[in-house]
C-alpha cells in the first residue's frame, strides 16, 4: 500500500465539467445583473421604487451600518482636543486634505475645540468675491456633472440617470408638514400697484427707502435715501464673507430684515417675487424655458458651509431620511440612484425665471445638514430610515408672508454640512 501510495505518478488535468459549470454560472450572473439594472419596479401609484443597484462593491458597502458609523464618526470628532495639540492636529488635517488656512476665520487654530468645529469653519470677509452672474456656485468643490433635464430624469454620470420625482419628492397627501416660524415679525411688504410700500409697526416705507435704509417717512412717500447706504443700480453685489445667516437674528432690526426681503424682491424682479407658488417639482416650466441641473461635490478638505446660488425665495423644504453612502465620484459612477438613496434636504422655491431648488445631500462622513433658517430640521438621527421617497415637509411662509418663503440673496450663507 505504501509503495502504491508513494510510487504512483500524479497526473493533473482540468476537469472540463467544472470549468463548464463555472462558465455557466458566470454567464447567468452577468445576464441577471444586466436585467436587474434595466428593471424598474413601481409602486401601486406608479412611482419608481428606488432600490440599491450596482456592482457587488456597492452591495458590500450597502450592507455596512453606515448611519451608525456616521454618528460614531461625528461623536468622535466632537470630542474636545487638548489646546496644545490643536495647531499641530489641524495643520496635519489641512496638509492631508488641502485646506487653505490663510482664509479661515478665526485664524488662531487653538480656538477650534474639536475637528468638528474646525470642519464647520468660517471664511474671512471678502474671501469669496461674488460674481454678478445670474447663477453662482453655492459651495467650494468640484463640478461633478451639469446639463439639461430631459423627461424629468437627471443624468448622474454618463449612462446612469435618476428621476426628478425621486430626488425632490412627489406631493403626497398625508405627508407631515411642519410650519417653521424662523422668526415672527409684524412686518408686511406689500407691492401696491407700481409703488412698493412696506408697513412696519404702522409706519409706511417706500421700497427705495428700505433699500436706502433711510429713516421712515412718516406718511410722506418722497424717498429720502442718504447716498451712503443707497445701492447704486448695477453695482456688483457687496462682497460676501460676512457670513450673513439667512435666519433673522433676534438683534437684527425689522427694518434690516425688510431691506433684505426687498432687495431679494427687486433682484428677482417684483413680478416673479410675487408670483404664486408653482408646482414644487418644476414639472410645468414656462414656454421657452427648460430645466437644468448641476452637481457639486465637496471634498473632505473643502470649506463646508453652503451659500445661496442666486436671489431666490425658499418656499419649503423636504427632508428625506435616507442612507449615507459615500458620494465620492467613485461611488457616483457605480451606485445608481445615489442622490435619491442618501439623506438629503430638498429646498424648493422660485427665482426670477421660475422654479428653483437646491438639494444638499449628506454622505457617510458628513451626515448632518444644517439650514440656518430652519431650526426645526434634524438630520442623521438614530433609527431605521423609512423607505426611500418618504419625506417630512416644512414650509417657510412665515419667514416672509408677502414673498411666501425665506428670501435669500446671492452668496448669502444658508447653512452647511457637519461631521457625523
Amino acid at each position: 500500500l505504501m509503495n502504491a501510495w508513494t510510487e504512483t505518478p500524479t497526473k493533473w488535468y482540468p476537469l472540463p465539467l467544472a470549468v463548464g459549470a463555472l462558465l455557466l454560472v458566470a454567464i447567468q450572473y452577468r445576464k441577471k445583473a444586466k436585467r436587474a439594472s434595466k428593471e424598474v419596479h413601481v409602486d401601486e401609484e406608479g412611482h419608481e421604487i428606488i432600490r440599491l443597484k450596482g456592482p457587488w462593491q456597492v452591495h458590500v458597502i450597502g450592507a455596512l451600518p453606515l448611519r451608525n458609523m456616521s454618528r460614531l464618526w461625528g461623536y468622535v470628532n466632537s470630542l474636545e482636543l487638548p489646546v496644545w495639540f490643536r495647531p499641530f492636529g489641524f495643520r496635519l488635517y489641512a496638509l492631508a486634505f488641502g485646506c487653505n488656512l490663510d482664509e479661515i476665520e478665526p485664524s488662531n487654530l487653538k480656538e477650534y475645540p474639536s475637528l468638528g468645529a474646525f470642519f464647520y469653519r468660517k471664511l474671512k470677509d471678502g474671501a469669496r468675491p461674488v460674481d454678478p452672474a445670474v447663477l453662482v456656485s453655492p459651495a467650494d468643490g468640484t463640478v461633478l456633472h451639469y446639463g439639461t433635464i430631459k423627461d424629468l430624469h437627471i443624468e448622474q454620470v454618463k449612462g446612469i440617470t435618476y428621476s426628478l420625482d425621486a430626488l425632490l419628492g412627489v406631493e403626497r397627501p398625508g405627508t407631515p408638514v411642519i410650519c417653521t416660524h424662523a422668526h415672527e415679525h409684524n412686518r408686511d411688504l406689500s407691492i401696491v400697484d407700481d409703488r412698493e410700500f412696506a408697513n412696519v409697526n404702522g409706519i409706511d416705507y417706500s421700497l427705495d427707502q428700505l433699500i436706502g435704509a433711510a429713516t421712515p417717512s412718516s406718511g410722506s412717500t418722497t424717498p429720502t435715501t442718504d447716498s451712503s447706504s443707497a445701492v447704486e443700480p448695477g453695482a456688483p453685489p457687496k462682497k460676501f464673507g460676512t457670513q450673513v445667516d439667512a435666519s433673522v437674528e433676534p438683534e437684527q432690526s425689522v427694518q434690516e430684515t425688510l431691506v433684505h426681503d426687498a432687495s431679494v424682491a427687486l433682484e428677482m424682479g417684483v413680478g416673479a417675487s410675487m408670483e404664486k407658488r408653482r408646482s414644487a417639482s418644476g414639472k410645468t416650466v414656462k414656454p421657452g424655458n427648460a430645466l437644468f441641473f448641476s452637481v457639486i461635490y465637496l471634498a473632505p478638505g473643502d470649506y463646508h458651509r453652503f451659500h445661496s446660488p442666486t436671489a431666490w425665495v425658499v418656499e419649503k423644504r423636504r427632508h428625506f431620511v435616507g442612507e449615507l453612502y459615500s458620494v465620492s465620484p467613485y461611488m457616483a459612477k457605480r451606485l445608481e440612484n445615489l442622490f435619491v438613496l442618501n439623506e438629503r434636504v430638498a429646498l424648493l422655491g422660485r427665482w426670477k425665471h421660475g422654479f428653483f431648488s437646491m438639494i444638499p445631500v449628506g454622505a457617510t462622513n458628513v451626515g448632518s445638514i444644517k439650514i440656518n433658517f430652519d431650526q426645526a430640521l434634524r438630520t442623521n438621527v438614530r433609527g431605521r430610515p423609512p423607505p426611500p421617497g418618504t419625506y417630512s415637509e416644512a414650509v417657510y411662509s412665515a419667514a416672509s408672508p408677502v414673498l411666501n418663503g425665506q428670501p435669500l440673496i446671492a452668496a448669502q450663507e444658508m447653512g452647511g454640512f457637519c461631521l457625523g
Binding site: 445670474v134 447663477l135 451639469y146 437627471i154 460676501f240 427648460a290 430645466l291 421660475g354 431648488s357
Partner: protein, 32 residues
C-alpha cells in the same frame, strides 16, 4: 457631501463650467 441644483431657466441659459472643474463659493456657474 454634494449639492444638487435643479432649476428652470430660459432655454438659452449656459453653464460656463466644465465637469471636473474646481469651483469656489460665489464663482460664476452659468448665465442667461
Amino acid at each position: 457631501s454634494t449639492i444638487v441644483l435643479v432649476f428652470e431657466a430660459p432655454a438659452d441659459f449656459e453653464f460656463v463650467v466644465k465637469a471636473g472643474q474646481k469651483v469656489k463659493v460665489g464663482e460664476r456657474l452659468g448665465d442667461v
